[in-house]
Symmetry: none
Subunit: 186 residues, 4 copies
DNA sequence: GATGAATGAGACTTCATTCAT
DNA sequence: TATGAATGAAGTCTCATTCAT
């Protein structure tokens, strides 16, 4: 593994393990066996480093949500599959979830970064768009619809992670059904 | 204004103006004309001070969302009114919105604080609960339903505030309709 | 109990329980149910308050060491009794011991306070002086002799308290014998 | 001098000049021309820095007490030499003496640090141990015997430093004789 | 006598970042 | 490429003490 990769890998480990706020550069330096200067050789700033990781996690998440999407399912079933995938990713990776959420709302985030990351969701976006075109989904701005759907799942996931409610298969299905009802054409 | 009130007021101003992370004690000290020790006389820690403010803002928000609720409206109309109120509060107070969101997800927050603040939403909770009882709304855990509805509105509000989409009366109505569809009994 | 007594009592409790360094005024204020101003009404400063307590403990210690001294014992036996008393007082009151030691070496201490406290040891001083006069003890400055003897016992006590050596009756006797041999006329 | 040495040197100077309690980090920073961060680069905490200095002074003291020990002297004469050395070190370096005493009794001190420092006294320990083996000294725990002997000298030294008694060659000899009598086999 | 709100200097430490090597 | 010593502003908080009531 190259030094640059070591740095990225260690940062990812630390940030998904300790969370966004509890990961100072000093720890990254230690864990990656890289000198401070080396990190700043590859990354302009801590922000830049975190940006990269944010993209990595977004990509991972992007892949996770479309898992098994190519199965022979109808549109609604695919919708449910994606939501299930998202829920699984979040609850199976609570620290990644936390980082993604923290960072998404962080004042640090750059619009351009957000733009770039959109490509990881192209398939998901395409899926929603096709739903509109075939008359299954309402005519809402694409990006808004995605945010609403994903927001619902992430809201539910957080409650599960924080143990504010009991996780059951049935409840999850009800929540996804809610999401579906909120975007499907009556 | 008493010293304690000065401190709270100044902190509120600063935190809603600069955001959660950009408000160090030193600034609060300057703005409130209080000595450091004075702040720690009234509040156990910075966290304690912020907790108090969080509660204050939650209370303000709690009042905002039930504005005009006693009008002669039917259930669905009241639902729309509450969502409208929430949206207005968020978009008219973007910094308060930011603080509330940041802090709600902050690792600093205490469960007990959350519990206490629940009372500010009693009317809203009661409204939802009654909706379930009269057969208008689905049987989902109360706290989950609130989170989903409010989550939708806050997700939409954030996009407006961040200028990711254009705010129109029509779009707002569509979003609220989505929320309604997600919890109403088909 | 008068307010002044409450203050003294609470300070004593705190200082013998928490030790010299872990007892700020704020704690004394809380425990004594007295206002800060009240303490400064009775005592010029924290130092003054501690001085008073130091004297109290010194007096208690002074009484402890001459316990049972009036028994029909010969000179050497009385010497051993005093040393035993001192050892018991130290090891049975390790926190008082700690405070006494800390404070005795503290730069805060005033010569005058030391002078005043000397009266609590008048009996012990007299006992040593008489030992010199009757030819049992060497001709060393009285205050030096006391310090050496008490220093030995306190050194031994500290090792017991810190569990650096095992306490046995036999070892204690050997240590006292050492002290005796160091001052007795061969 | 390297930065680390500058820091250590300045701290030593300050601490032996001002005493243990009157030496805040800010002064060390100023005197050593090092940034705060630099100090924490080399030392985990203030305590760690002080630990190091304590060890340094203990080492210096360890060397001082065995000065000229290799002369052709008999056992008792060597004993007197060591005690004389110790007395000289204390009275010629009253501030170091004060720091050593303060710190030795400080609650901050770690047992492990004490253990490590024991090696600086190996020669002295060996000397005492050999005394026991050749039948000159009593059978007391080694560490206790050292403490008692050194305690006596340090007690005497303090009285000299605080000007509680007049220093004379004769008195010093009497005190060492006392120590000798307290451990020698009659 | 008694209160306790108010003081503010100063305590230790952390942090992202730089730069000479 | 890679190092890591050095930076120093800024962070939160504690403390003995004062003074108007």
């Amino acid at each position: 593994m190259s030094k640059r990769e070591q740095i990225l890998y260690s940062t990812l480990e630390l940030i998904t393990e300790l969370g966004f706020h509890a990961t100072p550069m000093s720890l990254i330096i230690k864990k990656s066996n890289a000198a401070a200067g080396t990190i700043y050789h590859y990354f302009k700033s801590k922000e830049d480093l975190i940006d990269t990781l944010y993209s990595d996690l977004k990509e991972e998440m992007g892949k996770a949500i479309i898992q098994n999407l190519d199965l022979e399912l109808n549109y609604k079933e695919k919708f449910f599959l994606i939501c299930n995938n998202l829920f699984s990713f979040f609850t199976e990776n609570p620290k990644k979830f936390e980082f993604l959420e923290d960072y998404a709302n962080s004042p640090l985030i750059h619009k351009e970064i957000k733009e770039i990351n959109r490509r990881h969701y192209q398939q998901a976006l395409d899926f929603i768009e096709s739903g509109i075109q075939i008359g299954m989904l309402r005519e809402l701005p694409l990006i808004l619809m995605i945010n609403l759907i994903f927001g619902n799942i992430s809201c539910f996931s957080r409650m599960i992670i924080l143990e504010e409610i009991e996780p059951t298969e049935e409840l999850l299905n009800k929540v996804i059904q809610s999401s579906w009802d909120s975007v499907k054409i009556n």
